[in-house]
């Protein structure tokens, strides 16, 4: 696999950094090179939290990058904040429940994809697994890690919580699967191409 660059962005507390860390660790456990860096300092003061993750089969250079292969914006503010990381080859993903104006969306993108992640989390699962749906979506879009590796990484990160409450395990795995399907479906249907 060649270099894949992903930017995840959302509000503090949405779990953006947690899923970035789990994804990077899952890739590392599959003997890939991975590099994850949070932007830090501002999110605790009310800014948008961004995670930069890179996957490769060779050594990764600079920790940040110019344009991402996939950008996922998890809040309305995050859409405009991350537009700069979207280039002609970028899949730009956001929640189609957001009220965003045309000018907030990136000017350049390979595809802009809206997925019903928040609605699905709230209605079918639980708001707390919203970020895991997004993690599933990233896997569906990029194949940076296998579904099983992602499950293993979730287990190793949250296993101690799953032990206390086995329903949580099921909920998280279900969210991961729904997110993956959601992204695969969106890819098949197409979206706004080359806007």
């Amino acid at each position: 696999m060649s270099l894949t660059r992903i930017a995840l962005a959302g509000e503090g507390g949405q779990g953006v950094q947690s899923i970035a860390e789990i994804l990077a660790e899952a890739a590392y456990n599959q003997d890939q090179q991975a590099l994850y860096i949070p932007n830090f300092g501002l999110e605790q003061r009310g800014g948008v939290s961004i995670a930069f993750i890179q996957f490769s089969d060779i050594r990764i250079g600079a920790p940040k990058f110019h344009k991402a292969d996939v950008v996922v914006a998890l809040s309305e503010r995050a859409v405009s904040r991350t537009a700069i990381y979207s280039g002609p080859d970028t899949l730009f993903v956001y929640d189609n429940g957001f009220h965003v104006s045309e000018q907030d969306l990136p000017r350049e993108a390979k595809r802009i994809i809206g997925i019903p992640a928040i609605q699905t989390a709230n209605q079918e699962l639980h708001p707390r697994v919203f970020n895991i749906i997004i993690m599933g979506a990233v896997i569906g879009l990029t194949k940076v890690v296998s579904f099983d590796a992602a499950k293993d990484a979730l287990e190793s990160k949250l296993g101690y919580k799953f032990e206390k409450n086995p329903e949580l395990r099921e909920l998280n795995f279900k969210a991961l699967e729904l997110g993956k399907h959601m992204a695969e479906k969106a890819l098949q249907e197409g979206g706004a191409e080359n806007v």
């Binding site: 860390e21 991975a34 300092g41 990764i60 600079a62 920790p63 940040k64």
Partner: protein, 362 residues
Amino acid sequence: MPNIIGASKKSFVTGNETAAWACLVAGADMMFGYPITPQNEIMHYWTRLAPKYGRGFLQTEDELSAGFTVCGSVQSGKKAFTATAGPGNVLMQEPFGMAEAMRLPLLAIIQQRGGPSSGTVVYSQQEVTLTTFGGNGEGMRIVYSTASHQDIYDYIIKGFNMAWKHRFPVFILGDGYQAKMREPLEMYNPEDRGIEMVKPYPLIGVEGKISAGREPQHLNNIYSLEEELYEVVMKVAAEYEALEDSIVEYDEKNCDDADIIILSHGVVSRAADDAVKILRAQGIKAGYFRPITLRPYPHKQLRNAIAKSGAKKLLIAESAYGQLERLTKQEIFGETIKIESLFRPGVGIIDYDIINKVKSVL
């Protein structure tokens, strides 16, 4: 030394966690510190690890105190270290100066943040001048600029040995990106790689009597006579210069036929490495030169790279407004190669930035 790591093992960790583990396997006895972002987790990890291995930790009231307690601790024969950043690095220059004056084997990990003043808590390469030549002395220090977690691990182990072998203060110069990012690291016990750790030794209360078989230690940071100070500084400078060749480290790629040499240090050198590969693939003869030690500086090696390549231009890329450039210019004074610069103080530099700059100046 206890077998801490077991068989060499791969892990996926932050740079700060890397630093704490490296100090542990290097046999550090004690850390003194005061919290400041982005190095806090070095303290956090150390305080979790230290009690399990009989090592110590003290949080002092500020960085001045942290620096001086390290100065005291090493004199008693303890392998002690500290870690800081930004304004904390400014405060520690006074104790670091004492370490230069008294030839104390101190090790400090610096994770650069944005400046001046409190700047940002994130990242920069703006503590180069401060770390190489800070204090009211002559820069008699050893400064390793790391580019990866493996560097942080390897150079902390090496740094302790250089400090205790040569008795010059040693600095591991990282940055906020390296501190906070996660990437693969191979951890090992130094002994398993054939690295013998220099045993710490007391500088005070040593055995024997002066005039009866042992020389005085001369642990002094103040002199009443100008001539006395002059003599000491000249002696230390001569010893430092004599060691330069054995301490200097650098990395060089594709300089043999380069039209332009890209000079960078620390985490920026990773982007420079990628940029050179991409430029070469496009038929542009770019070379890569990275000083690993910023003090002493690999000036002979850089002059040699310039001479053998016949390069017309040297592009200096750094996340500061000319700190590496000033250091480099004084070290290669007299060279006529044209120097171009890519200064991005307080923000990262990626291959894209370097490639664009190279194309705009060639």
